[in-house]
Amino acid sequence: AQSVAQPEDQVNVAEGNPLTVKCTYSVSGNPYLFWYVQYPNRGLQFLLKYITGDNLVKGSYGFEAEFNKSQTSFHLKKPSALVSDSALYFCAVRGGTASKLTFGTGTRLQVTL
């Protein structure tokens, strides 16, 4: 079975400060990891993914994520947060022979002036 944990229900950060949204995973075999963002009354939008190779992957809107195999983590980061980044963020994993994506419970990011 595959699973994702997002330990923080909400992350608060001031605009201009760096942000981190945490994600850990459990999977059999090689993990394929994804971050999605959800704005109010909108569907999920793909941000970035890790398949293989460099542990630091870059995605849309200046976001990046760091894969750490030993800690089974895939934390989402951004060097300088914007108020417009405020949204719900979901980490997801697909592993082994599975075709489905398994999502975490989400982390609400609140960026304030």
């Binding site: 909108r42 999920l44 793909f46 979901f90 075709s99």
Partner: protein, 116 residues
């Protein structure tokens, strides 16, 4: 179309009624997923199609839920004898999974189902 399209965007139905939710995936995408998202929760997997066949229906909660994709494109999620606990946002996604398991899925805007 340019993205995954789901209709209707909102559906209110009475307890015990039958509902159908439609998903039109991105053209050419062979893989199609249905998820359910309850308030404050992450998307919960329901069923996955590769082409016309349901390759994984392990997430369907019970036999009141059924999904079809007869021509390998549009899919319909069918819920019989709806219950208030079925109220949620139903999300559809598609992808070119044949490119590998690292392929991302693209989601529609969802159908908000309310059972009263």
């Amino acid at each position: 179309g340019a993205g995954v399209s789901q209709t209707p965007s909102n559906k209110v139905t009475e307890k015990g009624k039958y509902v159908e939710l439609r998903c039109d995936p991105i053209s050419g995408h062979t893989a199609l997923y249905w998820y359910r998202q309850s308030l404050g929760q992450g998307p919960e997997f329901l069923i996955y199609f590769q082409g016309t066949g349901a390759a994984d229906d392990s997430g369907l909660p019970n036999d009141r839920f059924f999904a079809v994709r007869p021509e390998g494109s549009v899919s319909t999620l069918k819920i019989q004898r709806t219950e208030r606990g079925d109220s949620a946002v139903y999300l559809c996604a598609s992808s070119l999974l044949r490119q590998g398991r690292g392929t991302e899925a693209f989601f529609g805007q969802g159908t908000r189902l309310t059972v009263v």
